[in-house]
């Protein structure tokens, strides 16, 4: 039970609201970035242990009793990966938006009907 979990879930819901309701493609990409941020917050908070410190062993007692004194480092490593991949994917999506805009001169997703039936 942690307030950061709630904030992360709320951010994810805000992001999904943006995905479902926005028409501007740049806003859709931003909404996906907000979902990512919320998910990363939730993931990194799963590794939190009350009273434990960061997984950096800069004193001798931390080196000896590392397993009893640090928070879970595995979610942190995962989130580090997720952030980098998120940046790359966002850049690629914005590139698609730029190309689409150059073709049709509009950012509204309702104008793109090629995949609709």
């Amino acid at each position: 039970m942690n307030i950061i979990h709630i904030i992360g879930f709320i951010l994810m819901i805000i992001g999904f609201w943006g995905l479902l309701t926005q028409k501007n493609m740049i806003k859709i990409v931003l909404a996906l970035a907000i979902v990512e941020t919320g998910l990363q917050l939730v993931m990194v908070t799963f590794g939190f242990i009350k009273g434990h410190t960061a997984p950096i062993l800069d004193s001798s007692e931390l080196v000896k009793g590392a397993a009893e004194m640090i928070v879970d480092p595995v979610p942190q490593a995962l989130v580090l990966t997720a952030i980098v991949i998120g940046v790359a994917v966002n850049a690629l999506m914005l590139t698609f938006v730029i190309r689409l805009y150059q073709k049709k001169k509009t950012l509204s997703i309702t104008e793109y009907k090629d995949l609709k039936w």
């Binding site: 039970m1 942690n2 979990h5 709630i6 879930f9 994810m12 819901i13 999904f16 609201w17 479902l20 309701t21 799963f46 590794g47 939190f48 242990i49 009350k50 960061a54 997984p55 950096i56 062993l57 800069d58 080196v63 590392a66 397993a67 009893e68 640090i70 879970d72 480092p73 595995v74 942190q76 490593a77 580090l80 990966t81 952030i83 980098v84 991949i85 940046v87 790359a88 994917v89 850049a91 690629l92 914005l94 590139t95 698609f96 730029i98 190309r99 150059q102």
Partner: protein, 232 residues
Amino acid sequence: MIKKLFAAVLLVFMAVMFYQLYSNITEKSELSGVARGYAERGASELGTQNIVTSIVVTYRGLDTLGEVSVLFIAATGVAVLLRRRKEDEEYAAPSKRQSSEILQTGTKLLTPIIVMFGVYIFINGHLSPGGGFQGGAVIASAVLLLFLSDVNYKINHGLFNIIESFSGAFYVLIGILGLLLFGANNFLDNRILPLGEFGMLLSAGAIPVIYSLVGLKVGTELASIIDNMKKD
């Protein structure tokens, strides 16, 4: 209207789902499983102060290699999609205004310091919070500052390509060196170099080398993404 209603219903379902997840979270009081193993063995086995770095670079090193590849593919995709075609040539960009004196002078002052800070972050990745990805992003921000201050600034593509290719190739070579020296289970083993004294800058075997290569690669890749997006 009906679409808005549908979206609202969907979000309510999602909120219920998250509430179920949230109410079932049990607070941990100690490390378990693989995390405990990493915490107990990381310092003595690999000589890293930063446990997250030992996971990212060595224990899960193959994942990081894949991550760097994904970043590379994304940067290539951006470059391919945004490259200038022949028919776009007649589209002349409107003449741009020079940036202000304050920004130009500030950039000259700050760029070397920002690059140095990025290098500091990735060289100290095994000792303190930081690492190749963060340091690379800081270096790319220095390039972004150069683009902002000078409208005609062009990055040196040849140099960037050489740095990027060589750091990627050396990263894989270090991984293969672990295979050759220690056998089949030791891809990307950091003990191909001496572990050194715990907590010193030149310690933890190959981890500072790998993170420096990752930092250079990420920095040049993000800088070329910025460069490609700025063209249009």
